[in-house]
């Protein structure tokens, strides 16, 4: 059965996601921050984690964005193949939602129209939209406000199959080491392993939207997630890069089959303000 979805609903939902995500962290992220503070053994690091918690409280209570970099809007849109959109082009409906969310939410407009000419578009559009067709008659939208302090420290490596597990772990840890204080630790690390060049990067970005406590289903991937996270925290970069026990809260790896000749690896870094919100329509 075909289900009709009015694109006005999409615009309204996206607008609300923009505003909510930039003012309130998801409960799992807030909990991860709280637990890190309780466990932290270095006094300065503990103090910084306390300030980050206070920052979240002020943001929520006084409706001030958690961070002034309210990001570039990146959306994952899963469209049930039994959905028929009515109204306008769904892409334009999403862009309209972003435009309204960033304007009405007093969010920073951080997008330039051309990478070299660099003139601000003034409304934080265009957003980056990844569509996927899925079974069913619903639409699932995940919005992320991706800050670029951490985006700039992300990397893609085209590893060789012979590099194996150890090569994967080394490259992820090296990416975090190079990011150091720049990416606003404690971090969340999204990893895409396999597929091809662009799919690895897309999986890495998507991995950042997973709940902090979620672990990979495959046992060998779960083991790599845990071991890599342990090595990252052993770097002791710490909150704000001023040393401490928590350098990363979580590390998620998404995988996909790949070519016999390759092992693409993408590491997408996110700061402690890992903002994402989802909605079903």
């Amino acid at each position: 059965m075909i289900r009709e979805v009015d694109t006005m609903l999409i615009t309204k939902a996206v607008k609300e996601l923009c505003i909510k995500a930039t003012h309130e962290l998801s409960p799992d992220m807030a909990k991860a921050l709280h637990e890190a503070r309780e466990k932290e053994t270095k006094p300065l690091a503990k103090e910084i984690l306390e300030q980050l918690e206070e920052n979240l409280r002020i943001a929520k209570r006084e409706r001030i964005p958690i961070c002034q970099d309210t990001g570039m809007a990146v959306l994952f849109v899963e469209v049930g193949q039994d959905v028929h959109f009515v109204g306008e082009n769904v892409g334009e409906a999403i862009q309209k939602g972003v435009r309204a969310g960033y304007e009405e939410g007093y969010l920073r407009k951080s997008v330039v129209a051309d990478p070299l000419l660099r003139e601000n578009t003034g409304d934080n559009t265009p957003a980056i939209i990844h569509y996927e067709l899925v079974p069913g008659d619903k639409v699932h939208i995940t919005f992320t406000a991706k800050g670029f302090g951490s985006e700039n420290m992300s990397r893609i490596c085209m590893l060789k199959p012979a590099d194996g597990e150890e090569g994967v772990m080394e490259q992820i840890v090296e990416t975090v080491r190079l990011a150091g204080p720049n990416a606003c630790p404690p971090l969340v690390i999204g990893v895409g392993l396999g597929g091809d060049f662009e799919l690895a990067a897309k999986m890495a970005k998507h991995a950042l939207t997973l709940p902090v406590t979620e672990r990979a289903a495959k046992p060998h991937i779960r083991r790599i997630e845990e071991e890599t996270l342990r090595r990252i925290n052993a770097l002791q970069i710490g909150p704000a890069g001023l040393s401490g026990d928590t350098t990363a809260f979580a590390l998620h790896i998404e995988t996909y089959p790949t070519h016999i000749a390759g092992m693409p690896l993408a590491v997408n870094i996110c700061c402690h303000v890992n903002r994402h919100e989802s909605v079903w329509i």
Binding site: Q51, P65, I66, C67, Q68, G149, N182, G238, A240, G241
Partner: protein, 180 residues
């Protein structure tokens, strides 16, 4: 060491600050990030006058989110400092005594800070709501067309910043890293 400091920052005061000092800053400073740096730098290259005096000035690498009605400023945390590395030695030579951002900086900036007797401070990245509470006044004073990247004059009270690079050429990030 915890210290209360005043902006504008005199060279004499800058010399009393050491890598790792936790400072609470009060007084007047200016925001300037990528686009404002580029524009000031290009003006200097052409020998033109700048819209603000840089003598004893502290620059905060900040592009705030818009203020809601009744607020002084929106969210107001630091941006990554290394993007300003290209322009910083020139700013310091023109009288800037302090810069506030986050993250590592080039060897050239570190040497230039030492040569000119200036300080690089870090504020906590991603704590823009908390930091905005320290900002008591904010006025756009130049390059208004740059939007969030315009130069704003700020009056702050007890803005928490950590000395990362001092006038003696020390780098606190590096010192912390080598302890591990």
């Amino acid at each position: 060491m915890r210290k209360n400091i005043t902006f504008p920052l005199t060279k004499a005061d800058a010399r009393t600050l050491h890598a790792g000092d936790m400072c609470y800053a009060s007084g007047t400073l200016y925001t300037a990030r990528d686009a404002a740096h580029k524009r000031m730098y290009e003006s200097m290259e052409r020998g033109e006058a700048l819209p603000i005096s840089l003598k004893d000035t502290v620059l905060y690498y900040l592009g705030p989110s818009p203020a809601k009605p009744g607020q002084v400023i929106g969210s107001a945390g630091p941006t990554t400092a290394s993007r300003m590395d290209k322009y910083t030695p020139r700013m310091l030579a023109a009288g800037v005594t302090g810069v506030i951002g986050k993250g590592k900086r080039s060897k050239e900036v570190r040497e230039s800070l030492k040569k000119e007797g200036a300080v690089y401070f870090a504020a906590i990245g991603g704590a823009g709501a908390l930091l905005s509470k320290c900002i008591k006044e904010a006025t756009v004073v130049a390059y208004e067309d740059l939007g969030t990247e315009a130069i704003r004059k700020l009056r702050v009270e007890n803005l928490p910043v950590v000395v990362i690079m001092d006038t003696e050429g020390r780098d606190y990030y590096e010192e912390v890293e080598s302890e591990v």
